[in-house]
C-alpha cells in the first residue's frame, strides 16, 4: 500500500499543473458552501446575541427591520428621528428604564453614536484605556474604531458636519478622545461614542460662542457695571469645547423635543414589558415598539432562505464540477493506457492499478481538503465582518 501512495505521489508530482488545478477546483468547490455557512452562522450568532440582549426598542413607526438594524447594529441607512420625550414617556410609566441613543452621524466612516452613560453599563462596555466621556465634547472609541482611526486617549477627531458648506449652519466639532473601550465583539467595537448632549451640539442644537457686546440692562452681579452680555449673528461659534469656553455652551429649546434615533427600553419584569408594549398599539402613533429578537429572527429566516438557494446552486455547481473531475480522470486514464499496460506487463494485477488510481484520488482529496481548511481558517476572523458587511450594509 505504501508503494501505491509513493507511485501515486510521484505521478501527481510529475503532472504538477494538472494536480494543482484539480486541487484548487475541488478545494474551492468545498470551501464556498462551507464558508458561506460560516458567514451565515457568524451573522446569526452576532445578530441574535445582540438582539437577545436588547429586550425592547422604541423608534419611529415604519420599518421595524430598519429600526432594529439602525439602533442595534448602527447600519449606514440610519433611522428616522423621534423626540427625546419618548424616553421621558417610558421612564414616566415606571415599567422600564429608557436608554436613548442617537445614531445619525458618521465620523471618518465609523458610526458616531450619542448615548447616555447608562448604555455602557447596559452593554458591559468598559474602557481598556483612559476613561469614559465626562465633559461635553468628549468621546470614547470602540476597540476596532480606535484601531482603524489610529487614535487613543488624548487625541482629537473632528465630527463630520452634514452641511459643511452651509455657513449659517452647524460646524464640525473637535472631539476629545478620553478612552478606548475593551473589545466587545459586537457592533459597539466600531463606534465612536459621545454623550447624548455632545451629539446634540454636533446637531447644532447646542453651541458656545464668545460674548461680543455689552448692553445696558439689569445687573447680574452685585455692585458690578449694569451690563448684560449680548451676542449677535456676527459672533464666533466655538468648534472645540475647552474648560475655558465650556461655560458658554448652552442649548436652545425644550430638551424633550430634541432628536434621538431610538430608545432601548429595559422593562423591570415580564408584566411591565407587556404593559409597555400595550402603550404602542395605536396604529396612528408616530412611534412603535419592537422586540429586536423577533425582528432579527424574521430577518435571519429570509437570509437563510437565500442561503438555502445558494446551497442548491452550489450543490448543482459541485455536481457538475465532480462530473468534470471524473471526466478529467477518465480522459487521463485513456492517455495513460500505455502506462497501465506496462504495469500489467510487469506482472502487476488489475487490482494494483485500481489501488494506484485510488491512492491518486485520495491524495488529491487530501490536498484539496487541506487547502479548503486553510482557506476557511484564514477567512474565519473575517466571518463576522463579512456578515455585517453583507447582511447589514
Amino acid at each position: 500500500m505504501r508503494h501505491d501512495f509513493y507511485l501515486a505521489w510521484r505521478h501527481l508530482r510529475h503532472h504538477r499543473t494538472r494536480t494543482l488545478i484539480l486541487v484548487l477546483c475541488l478545494s474551492l468547490i468545498a470551501a464556498l458552501p462551507l464558508g458561506l455557512h460560516r458567514v451565515l452562522d457568524a451573522g446569526e450568532y452576532w445578530m441574535t446575541r445582540r438582539a437577545e440582549a436588547t429586550p425592547l426598542l422604541v423608534g419611529a413607526r415604519g420599518s421595524s427591520v430598519d429600526l432594529t438594524l439602525g439602533a442595534l447594529y448602527f447600519s449606514e441607512a440610519g433611522v428616522p428621528a423621534i423626540r427625546m420625550q419618548e424616553a421621558d414617556r417610558i421612564a414616566a410609566t415606571g415599567w422600564a428604564d429608557p436608554l436613548p441613543l442617537y445614531a445619525r452621524y458618521r465620523v471618518q466612516g465609523q458610526p458616531l453614536v450619542g448615548v447616555t452613560l447608562d448604555y455602557f453599563d447596559f452593554r458591559g462596555l468598559v474602557p481598556a484605556q483612559g476613561e469614559l466621556p465626562a465633559i461635553l465634547g468628549d468621546c470614547v472609541l470602540g476597540a476596532d474604531a480606535a484601531e482603524r482611526l489610529g487614535l487613543g486617549p488624548g487625541d482629537t477627531l473632528a465630527s463630520t458636519s452634514e452641511n459643511a458648506f452651509d455657513l449659517a449652519g452647524t460646524y464640525p466639532l473637535k472631539l476629545h478622545v478620553t478612552g478606548v473601550l475593551a473589545k466587545a465583539r459586537s457592533p459597539d467595537d466600531h463606534v465612536v461614542f459621545v454623550d447624548l448632549q455632545t451629539a446634540w451640539v454636533i446637531d447644532g442644537l447646542g453651541h458656545g460662542h464668545a460674548e461680543t457686546q455689552m448692553a445696558a440692562a439689569q445687573p447680574d452681579s452685585p455692585f458690578g457695571p449694569a451690563t448684560v452680555r449680548r451676542a449677535d449673528a456676527g459672533l464666533l461659534t466655538y468648534t472645540e469645547i475647552t474648560p475655558e469656553n465650556l461655560g458658554s455652551f448652552h442649548f436652545h429649546g425644550d430638551p424633550a423635543t430634541y432628536p434621538i434615533s431610538a430608545v432601548i427600553a429595559l422593562p423591570h419584569d415580564v408584566r411591565s414589558a407587556t404593559l409597555l408594549r400595550g402603550r404602542y398599539l395605536d396604529e396612528k402613533s408616530e412611534t412603535e415598539i419592537v422586540r429586536p429578537l423577533d425582528v432579527t429572527r424574521g430577518l435571519l429566516q429570509n437570509i437563510f432562505r437565500v442561503g438555502a438557494l445558494f446551497d442548491g446552486i452550489l450543490l448543482l455547481v459541485g455536481a457538475i464540477a465532480f462530473l468534470l473531475v471524473a471526466l478529467v480522470f477518465a480522459l487521463s486514464l485513456r492517455l495513460r493506457q500505455r502506462e497501465i499496460e506496462t504495469i500489467y506487463l510487469l506482472g502487476c494485477a488489475r487490482l494494483a492499478v485500481l489501488r494506484l488510481l485510488f491512492a491518486e484520488i485520495l491524495l488529491i482529496a487530501l490536498f484539496a481538503g487541506a487547502v479548503c481548511a486553510a482557506v476557511l481558517a484564514a477567512a474565519a476572523p473575517y466571518a463576522s465582518d463579512l456578515a455585517r458587511h453583507f447582511i447589514l450594509s
Binding site: T116, A134, A168, D195, P222, F223, R229, D232, G247, H250
Partner: protein, 302 residues
C-alpha cells in the same frame, strides 16, 4: 428533645443569615452624591449607615455656582445615586456626561410650581432669531413643604435602589417629615402674626420662602462681606420709601459697617442662611431652627 435541637439549629441559622445580611449591606454601602447640602442631609438621615453621602462642591463655594471638572464628573459617574436639586440649580448638568438612570431630580414633583426669573438675558444669532435664557429660582428647600417633597423623592430613590432598606428609610422619612413640618408650622405661625410686614432681602434667593409664608419681601443684590456702593444705598432708600422694611434678611452675617449703616436707617440685619453648603457647625435642621428664631425676632420687632 429533638424538637428543641432542631429549633435551636434553625434559630442559629437565622441569626447567621441575619448577621451575613447585615454585613453584606455594610460591605456594599450605597455611594450617593448630592448637589447641595440639604439633599446630602436628607440622604444622610434617610440612608443612615448604609450609604456614603458626598457633597462634591468645596466647602467655601456655593454649590449653585460650582462647576465640576472632569475628575469630579468621573467620581460622580461611579456613584449609585446622584441627587439633584433641579429647578435649574445644576447649571453644569448640560456640560457633563452622567448616567441618567442614576440621576434623581428631587424637585420634579413640583416642577409646575417653579418660580421663573423674568429678567432673562436676551440675545440673537443664526437663523433662529432672538431668544432668551430664562432662569428659575432654585432655593426650593426654603419652602419646608417642598423640602419635605424633596426628601420623599430621595427616600423613593433609596428604596428603588435598595428595597431591603424600605422600612428603615420610611422610618427615617417619617421623623424627617415631622421635623420639616415643625419648621413649616412655626414659620407660618410667626408670619401669620403680622401679615404683609415689609421685609428686605440682601439677595434674591428667598422666592420660595416668600411665596410659602406670604412674606412681603423685596430684594437687593448685596454680598454680606462687601460694602455696597453709594448708588446701591440710594436705590435702597428709594425702595424703603415705598416699602418701609425694618429688617433685612441675609444669607450670612453682614460686615459690621454694612450692618451699622443699615441700623442707621432703622433696619436690623437678620440671618436666614439657605444652608446650601455644609455648615461649619450643626446641621441643616439646627441652621433652619436658628433661621426661624432670627425670623421670629424680626417679626417681634416693632
Amino acid at each position: 428533645m429533638p424538637t428543641f435541637r432542631i429549633l435551636s439549629f434553625v434559630l442559629a441559622l437565622l441569626a447567621a443569615a441575619s448577621a451575613w445580611g447585615a454585613s453584606a449591606v455594610g460591605e456594599h454601602k450605597l455611594r450617593i452624591v448630592a448637589s447641595n447640602y440639604p439633599l446630602a442631609y436628607f440622604a444622610e438621615r434617610l440612608a443612615g449607615p448604609w450609604a456614603t453621602v458626598t457633597l462634591p462642591a468645596p466647602a467655601d463655594v456655593d454649590p449653585a455656582y460650582w462647576r465640576p471638572d472632569a475628575k469630579a464628573v468621573g467620581a460622580m459617574q461611579k456613584a449609585d445615586l446622584i441627587l439633584l436639586n433641579g429647578a435649574d440649580y445644576e447649571k453644569w448638568l448640560a456640560h457633563v456626561a452622567l448616567p441618567r438612570l442614576k440621576l434623581v431630580d428631587t424637585s420634579a414633583g413640583f416642577r409646575d410650581r417653579f418660580i421663573r426669573i423674568e429678567s432673562a438675558v436676551v440675545h440673537s444669532h443664526g437663523p433662529a432669531g432672538q431668544h432668551s435664557h430664562e432662569g428659575t429660582a432654585f432655593t426650593t428647600w426654603l419652602d419646608f413643604d417642598q423640602a419635605a417633597q424633596q426628601a420623599e423623592a430621595v427616600a423613593k430613590a433609596l428604596i428603588a435602589k435598595r428595597p431591603e432598606l424600605k422600612t428603615a428609610v420610611l422610618d427615617g422619612l417619617k421623623t424627617l417629615h415631622a421635623d420639616l413640618a415643625g419648621l413649616d408650622s412655626e414659620v407660618k405661625r410667626i408670619t401669620a402674626a403680622k401679615p404683609g410686614l415689609p421685609l428686605m432681602a440682601s439677595h434674591p434667593v428667598y422666592q420660595y420662602l416668600a411665596r410659602r409664608y406670604a412674606l412681603n419681601l423685596k430684594s437687593v443684590h448685596w454680598e454680606p462681606g462687601e460694602m455696597p456702593p453709594e448708588k446701591e444705598w440710594t436705590g435702597l432708600d428709594k425702595t424703603l420709601a415705598r416699602h418701609p422694611a425694618k429688617t433685612m434678611l441675609w444669607e450670612a452675617r453682614p460686615a459690621a459697617a454694612v450692618a451699622d449703616d443699615l441700623s442707621a436707617r432703622g433696619i436690623a440685619s437678620a440671618v436666614f442662611d439657605p444652608c446650601a453648603n455644609r455648615p461649619e457647625s450643626g446641621d441643616f435642621l439646627a441652621v433652619m431652627r436658628q433661621n426661624v428664631e432670627n425670623l421670629k425676632t424680626s417679626f417681634q420687632r416693632r
